[in-house]
Amino acid sequence: MSVAWQFYISTVLIYLGVDVIACWGLNLQFGVAGLVNFAYIIFQAAGAYTAAVLTLGPATRGGFQQYIGGAHLPFPVPILVAGVVGGLLAAVVGGLAIRRLRSDYEAMVMLVVSLIATSVATNQSGLVNGSNGLALVPKPLAAMVNLSPIGYQWLFVGITAVICLCVYWLVHIVTSSPLGRTLRAVRDNEQAAAALGKNVAALRMLAFVLGGVLAGISGAILVEFISAWSPGSWLYPETFVYFTAVIVGGSGNNLGVMVGALLVPVAFLEATRFVPQFGPPGLIDALQWIIVGVLALVFLWFWPRGVIPERRRRFPRPAEGEADGAPRRVPLFLRAGR
C-alpha cells in the first residue's frame, strides 16, 4: 500500500474515532436521556478551541491570529481541559435551556444557541481569531517521538483508539448502571419517573453535561490532529450529521451508535468523494447534504430503531435467595439521584 494511501486511511481512522466519541456523547443526551440538542456541535467546537489555545501558547501582538487565554500545556492536558470546558458550557446552556423547556421548544432554543455561538465566534475576532479561526496548532508529542510523518499518523491512530476505549468504558458503565436505567425512564416517561421520586431536571442536566464533556474531547482530538479550527468547521448542519449517525446506528445503543458513526460521517460522506464528477461543478457536493437528510428521514420512517436497535431490557425474576430484592453494589456516583 502506498504511503499516500496510508496517510488517507490513517486520517479516516482518526476521524472515525473522533466521530464515534462525538456520537456516544450525543447518544447519552438524545438516545439515552431524550434531550434534543441541536447545538451539539458547539460543545465540540468549545473543546477544539480550548485544546488549540492551550497548545498554541500566548498570542503574539500583531500576529496573524489573535485569541485569549493562550498557554503551552503538555499532552494530554489540553484534551482533558477541553472535556471540562465542554461540560461547563453544557452546564451553562443546559441551565438556561433544558430546565424549563421540553422537546420542540428545547430543540428550537438549541438551534438558536448554535447560530448565536457561530456568530459570536466569527464576529468577535479577538476571541478565537474570528472567521479565520486558529491554525498551526503544534502536534502533540511530535517533538518527543521523532517519527516519520506516516509513523506519526499511525501513532495518532493509536492515541485516538486508546481514548475511544476509555470513553467506551465510561459510556458503558453509565448506560448499563442504574443511572442509565433511570435516564431511560426519564426519556420514556418523564412524568412517571418524576412520580417515582426521581429528580428529572438533575438527571437531564447530568446527561447533558456528560455529553458536553465527550463532545469537547472529540473536538480536542480533531484539532490536535488537523492543527486548525475555524467557524466553518462547526456550522449548525454538522450537528445533523451526528444526529443522522445516531438514528441510523441505533439510538440508545452504544454499539449501534458506533456503527452509525462508521456509516454516516465516515463511510457515507467519504464515499461521496469517490463518485465520479457529473453535472455542473459542485453538484455532487451539494447533493450529499440532501442525501444525509433523506437518509435520516428514511430511517425514521422505516427503521426508527436503527441498524442495531437498543436492547429491550428484561429483568429476570429474583432468585430464591434474592427475594427480598437486595441491591447490587453500585458505585455511589452511578446511583440515580432522587
Binding site: 500500500m1 486511511i9 496573524f64 491570529q65 491554525a135 466553518g232 467519504e270 468523494r273 457536493d285 451539494a286
Partner: protein, 425 residues
C-alpha cells in the same frame, strides 16, 4: 445489523480496490491523463470559490489539450471539495493525493482551509497555486507553495496609495469585524499615515445591523474626505443608504470584495446607479481584460459552457485568470523540465515566469510550448499579467481601481507593484 455489515464491507472493498489500484504519487505512466486538482470549496458558504476556479482551470485545459497536451499526456481538471473548512479539507487532501496517481498540481487551497492543508500538500510534493490571501504565508518556506494573488494585507497598501493619488488626506476606515476585513486595516493605517494622511475614524463594524445611524454620526464628526471599506453587501447597502439620507455620500474606496456582483447589486440598488458611478471606486488585483493572453483565455472560457455554467461571468474575474495562468505555468514548467514529476518540474516554475535577458515573452501555452521546443528560454505573461515570484513564492502584482457605471466595471487607474513594494518596506 446486516445492513451495517454490508455497508462496512462495501466501504472496505472500496478502499481496498483503490489502494490496490494505486501506485503512489510522482509523475505519470506513459499515456495517462495528468490531473490538476481544483482544491476549493464547492459546497457551503464559499461554494462560489469552486465555480470561479473551474472558470480558470477548464479554459486552460482545453487549450493545452487542443495543442497536443504536455509531453504526450492530456490534462484534466478534477474537483476536490474542501467544503470550506479545515476539518473536511484534511481528508479531502489526503484522499486526493492517495487516489489521483497522476496528480501534477492543484489550484487552491483557499483561506478557508489553507493553514491546515498547505503543509500536507507540500509534504506530498504537490505544487499548489493557492488563492488564500492569508498573511501567514507571506514568508512561507514551503517549496511547493505558489501564490499569484496578493496577500490580504497588501490590499491596505493599494487602498492608501490610490487615495493619496486622488489627493485625500483624511479618511474613515469602515471595515467589518470579521478577520478577513480586519486584516486589511493595519497596512492601510500604516501606509496612509506614511503618505501624510490621517485615518480619523477606525472602529470594526458590527455586520448585519438594521441601522448604522450612530456610527455615521461618529464618522461625520471626524470630517473624513473619503471612506475606505470592506463590509458584506447587506451592511454596505444599509450603511451607505443611511449616510446618503443623513448627510449625502462621501467618496468610497473599497477592496475587491466591493467589486463583486452581490455587493454591486445590493449597494447599487440602495444608493442608486448615479451615486454609485459618482462616489464609488473599488481596488482589485490588476488583471485588465485585454491583450492577447486575455483574449485566448476569454475565447476558451466562452467555449467551455458545457463544463462551466455561465462562463461569461468569469471573463474579467482576476482570480479565474490566475487559475488559468497557474495551469499554464505548471504545464510549461513540465515541458521545460521534460518531466511530469512534480519534484522535478517544481523548480522550473520560476524559470518559465521570471523575466530575464534573452528570454522570449509568451502569452499562451501554445506559444510557450513552441518556444521551449525551439530551444528558447521563456517568460510567461498570462491573462493576469506578469508573474514575478519573490523568495517566498509570492507574486504580488499591481492593483487596479475601477468604477461601476451602467452595469459594467470600468478601469480608472492602477497602482503598480513597485509602488506597493516601496510603501511596504
Amino acid at each position: 445489523m446486516r445492513i451495517a455489515v454490508k455497508a462496512l464491507g462495501a466501504a472496505l472493498v472500496l478502499v481496498a480496490v483503490g489502494a490496490c489500484g494505486s501506485s503512489g504519487g510522482g509523475g505519470a505512466s506513459a499515456s495517462s491523463t495528468l490531473v490538476v486538482g481544483e482544491f476549493n470549496p464547492f459546497s457551503g458558504p464559499d461554494a462560489s470559490f469552486g465555480l470561479e476556479m473551474a472558470g480558470g482551470c477548464v479554459p486552460a485545459i482545453r487549450l493545452i489539450n487542443a495543442g497536443g497536451g504536455v509531453l504526450g499526456h492530456q490534462l484534466s481538471c478534477v474537483q476536490e471539495d474542501t467544503r470550506g473548512d479545515p476539518a473536511d479539507a484534511v481528508p479531502a487532501a489526503q484522499k486526493m493525493m492517495a487516489t489521483e496517481t497522476s496528480l501534477v498540481g492543484v489550484l487552491g487551497p483557499s483561506s478557508d482551509e489553507a493553514l491546515a492543508t498547505a503543509p500536507l500538500l507540500n509534504q506530498g510534493h504537490v505544487p499548489m497555486f493557492v488563492d488564500t490571501g492569508q498573511a501567514a504565508f507571506n514568508h512561507t518556506g514551503d517549496a511547493y507553495f505558489w501564490r499569484v494573488t496578493p496577500a490580504d494585507d497588501v490590499k491596505g497598501y493599494a487602498l492608501a496609495l490610490w487615495a493619496h493619488k486622488a489627493g485625500y488626506t483624511r479618511a474613515a476606515a469602515v471595515f467589518g469585524n470579521d478577520a478577513g476585513a480586519q486584516s486589511d486595516v493595519p497596512t492601510l493605517v500604516k501606509a496612509f499615515t506614511r503618505l501624510g494622511g490621517t485615518i480619523a475614524y477606525n472602529k470594526p463594524f458590527a455586520l448585519g445591523q438594521s441601522s448604522y445611524r450612530t456610527e455615521i454620526e461618529n464618522i461625520l464628526a471626524t470630517h473624513p474626505q473619503v471612506i475606505f471599506t470592506e463590509v458584506d453587501p447587506q451592511t454596505g447597502a444599509t450603511f451607505l443608504s443611511e449616510l446618503q439620507q443623513l448627510h449625502g455620500l462621501l467618496p468610497v474606496i473599497g477592496t475587491e470584495v466591493t467589486l463583486q456582483a452581490p455587493w454591486l447589486k445590493a449597494v447599487g440598488g440602495a444608493i442608486g446607479p448615479a451615486a454609485m458611478a459618482r462616489y464609488f471606486q473599488g481596488m482589485q488585483p490588476y488583471a485588465p481584460p485585454s491583450g492577447p493572453a486575455w483574449q485566448a483565455y476569454n475565447k476558451s472560457l466562452l467555449g467551455s459552457a458545457a463544463q462551466v455554467p455561465k462562463p461569461s461571468q468569469w471573463s474579467s474575474d482576476p482570480y479565474s485568470m490566475t487559475y488559468y495562468d497557474g495551469v499554464n505555468v505548471m504545464a510549461l514548467a513540465m515541458i521545460a523540465a521534460k518531466s511530469t514529476s512534480p519534484a522535478v518540474f517544481n523548480p522550473y516554475i520560476t524559470k518559465v515566469t521570471e523575466p530575464g535577458p534573452g528570454k522570449k515573452v509568451v502569452d499562451t501555452f501554445a506559444a510557450g510550448q513552441a518556444a521551449l521546443r525551439a530551444g528558447h528560454q521563456i517568460q510567461y505573461v498570462g491573462a493576469g499579467g506578469p508573474i514575478v515570484f519573490n523568495h517566498w513564492h509570492n507574486s504580488t502584482g499591481a492593483f487596479e481601481a475601477a468604477k461601476y457605471a451602467n452595469g459594467t466595471i470600468t478601469l480608472v487607474g492602477s497602482v503598480s507593484a513597485a509602488q506597493i513594494a516601496a510603501i511596504s518596506r
